[in-house]
Amino acid sequence: METLLWALLLVPLAGAVVNVLLGRRLPRQVAGWLASGAVALAFLIGVMATLRLLALPAEERAYVTPTLYTWALAGRFEVPVSLLFDQLAAVMVLVVTGVGFLIHVYSVGYMAHEPADYDFRRYFVYLNLFVFSMLLLVLGSNFVLLYAGWELVGLCSYLLISFWYTEPQNAAAGRKAFVVNRVGDFAFALGIFLIWSAFGSVVYADVFEAVGGVAPATLTAITLLLFVGCTGKSAQLPLYVWLPDAMAGPTPVSALIHAATMVTAGVYLIARASALFAAATSTSAIVAWVGVLTALFAATIAIVQVDIKRVLAYSTISQLGYMFLGVGVGAYTAAIFHLVTHAFFKALLFLGAGSVMHAVEHGAHHAGEHVDPQDMRQMGGLWERARWTGITFLVGAAALAGLPLTSGFFSKDEILAGAFLEGHVLLYGVGLLTAFLTATYSFRQFFLVFAGEPRSEAARHAAESPRVMLVPLAVLAVLALGAGLVLGWPPEHGIIHTWLEPAFAVAREGTKAEGGAGLSPMTLLLISSVVALAGAGLAYGAYVRKAVDPAALSVRFRPLYVLLWNRYYVDELYALLFVRPFFGLARFLADVVDKLVIDGAVNGVATVTAGAHALARRLQAGYVRVYALSMVLGALLVLGYLVYWGR
């Protein structure tokens, strides 16, 4: 097992190293497949390790490798370099390597147009390095190793966001991600220091064992600091601003790093430290509220976006908000469950978006027309032209919307149910509203892209992507469709529950509430289904009916409309009561709050620092006598302090 785990960690690193050393001598395709192979191998090793874990009794499924060496040793401070493989780690490893492998394969096709061999190789080196870092984050047996992985994934993320650095805005996006994340990392580092000073150790096992012996105030401080770190990495309010810009990177990168894996590191961290968070109830409440508000906020913004990737970016922020809601209310299993399903369907959607862009670019090339391949207003009617992409994208959108029986349906519902059953009715309500919006924007996107008539020449000449890109899409589609049913049925007792529950046993102690307002889980499931369908219906009404011939529409949907509403009345209701004020609000959030307030705050900090820098430079005037004067003044201050005030 020990060898297995170290191999798991090091295989992607080896892939990167080999590509760096030999890459120049290999054909570029080989370099790509080499990188993919390394991740595939890691996935296989992960499966083997998980099987070994499965062979153990449920409560013993946590394997800590013997300490390879002790990383630091001064005074009482030491960090054993060892790996921890338990149920949680297993799930994360499989997601990271599994989805990672598919995205590697997809990238081989996606990046094939990259003109320079150098850049092609560079891309795969970064990608392999990322997988390694993410595995380090997930497998480390203590907070310091987690932090090391945390920083490294960040580094890979910046490198990949600015991958096409010749575009200045891409470099700026990378820088923004970097700066914003520093804020979170600062808090995280402080949190670790505080853990060390409170517990005298940074090893998970030692810390979680001693939770009872630490003052609640300290626990609250520690968990709050860690959570601030999470808001940076996982793009929650108010530090989410970098993620939409991060879409500047290549689309597979958005899929892997900024949707499926890295951004979920915050959720992983809280789940990992569930023992701490469960004991710090006030922090947990904050986590839940920040999560659900982020979910709502980002969902409203997503509705008005026209860039195909930005919709997905905001939806990622929103879905991450759900996960935080989950960990906040103590539904750790549900949160991780959602993390898994989200990884499937969001990776699918991003790769689908990449495929769409690929198709549109092809069309644009063919039609000799210049269009922004990410602008959904230029699309439409792609269903006919890129059928496989369309089908898989539909699956993804359905899962994101939480249409019944898709994977997103089960996991999201479980989070909401968790909130409800723990008695947080308000949280549940906001979550439900967000679910409605989610369904709306995800289908809005689908309809805008695939339904109706092409709105540009490029869209008219769009062509399906190559097979190497479609196969990963298909695999992910199957996962996005079926994972929920396979892993999560029946609710609370599915495979994922029996697997993960022991890992959260400590955190769950005593928090198991005795049912909310008398609604059974099944009822909640029903409510979720209705909400999701209603949201999808709204999107249909608002976007398809405008595009499709009204006659055809009325023929096809006449029974529904006759049954429920008069169509004109609905139109007006949308326009008057809902659509306009709502879109107004969404615009306000997107244009004023997002752009001015939050971006402004980030820029404001930068301005203040730059001002301080200018001041420091002015003081450094270059004149010896000025320096001497500042020394004398300093000496007088020191003298004055010690001789006069200090006494």
């Binding site: 002790t70 990383w71 040793l73 001064a74 580094l155 650095y165 620092t609 500042s630 020394m631 200090g646």
Partner: protein
Amino acid sequence: MERFLAQNWTVIQPALFLVFTGLIVLLVDLWLKEEEREWLAYFSLVGFGGAGVIVVRQWLAVRGLETPITGFGGMMVLDTLGLLFQMLFFLVGFLAVLLAPGYLTRRRLQRGEFYALLLFSTAGMSLLAGAQDLIMLFLGIEVLSIPLYILAGFARPRLDSEEASLKYFLLGAFATGFLLYGTALLYGATGTTAFEALRASEAAAAPRENVMFMAGIALLLVGLGFKISMAPFHQWTPDVYEGAPTPVTAFMVAATKAGGMVALIRLLYWGLGPADDVWRPLLGVLAAVTMTWGNVGALLQRNVKRMLAYSSIAHAGYLLIGVLSGGVGFVAVLVYLLIYALTNLGAFGVILLLEDGEREALDIESYRGLARFHPGAALLMSVFLLSLAGFPPTAGFFGKFLLFTAGISAGLTWLVVVAVLNSVLSVFYYARVIVKMYMQEPVETPAFSRSWLVAGALAVAAVGVVLLGLYPTVVVRLITA
């Protein structure tokens, strides 16, 4: 008598060895032709290596002793702390010599005095490491500084070098005045200059009763604060580091700071230990100011040398945390200084690779697209910069971790918070260079000069930075053993 003799000579043996090597370099140089002068570099390497061997042997011998050996009537001590610091100095000297010959030859500065002065300066540090008396403290600092005044102006008649030298000299001598006056006041207050007697004096037991004693501490801190570039006595640093010839800057960044730190530790803990409630809060505040000022100053600098100079001010601030923590803090300071020295020497080594006698890679723009031309140099520079920023898993991360945990366990939480905030800020300007190297298109072919000596120094630095990041335990064990 013989034991007396042996003991006295032993405590200054490394310094003597360096001085004699320096003298030989100085004298042999008189009969050498210009193109033969590179041999002096190799000879100086022998000097640093030999001194290193002496120190290691002394360390092995001293390690187990209960009471440390003293010499010259208690003015010098031979203990593990001092010996470890000396190892650091000699390592830095060794690497700095490796960096020098190519640069000096290209700029037609190849003169024997360079190596001799380097050796003399290191001898001064070596004296500081074991100082147990204010006289030794003063002498050590002067022996350390005077050669550096000259070295800073070594690129004469280049105006920036001369200006750096003049500024360093005038302000350095000015600071010496404060240091000496502080010494005089301490002497007046306690009647002694020996640390041991200072520690035991009445004044130290109740410092607030004695104005002269307090004023003495204040002025001594000013003088030493200058040497470690502590704010607000730091302003010479950017100018001098920018103007001095690059190998000299590398040496100063890596070694002078260490020398100042050991002097500070000796004075504060060996001499003024009982009065710690007087200087502790003061130094804490100054440390916070220092690191912030350094980082803010470095933020948008376009000259890489100047940026590193400001960053060295910031690092002095971090190091003060370790000094203030005492005990484990000293270990942290030592390890941090080692890491910091290797990292900086490495970074300056890369700068030295990227110059050709006319062009120097000082402006940040000259790093544009470096990764295309010299991927190796770019990678090394990135590693060093990330280490300076404290990015895991480089050594710099470990060093900061050690310093900060020492600070927290000494109850300096607020200072550590400031320091962490600062290191967050610092990443920004280090990353700028990396961004230039990897994420911008080159405008011109960078200057480059191949040198096996520099490559050797870079290899040592790089291996050290990576190994100390991944497996620092060896070093820490050796130090704490």
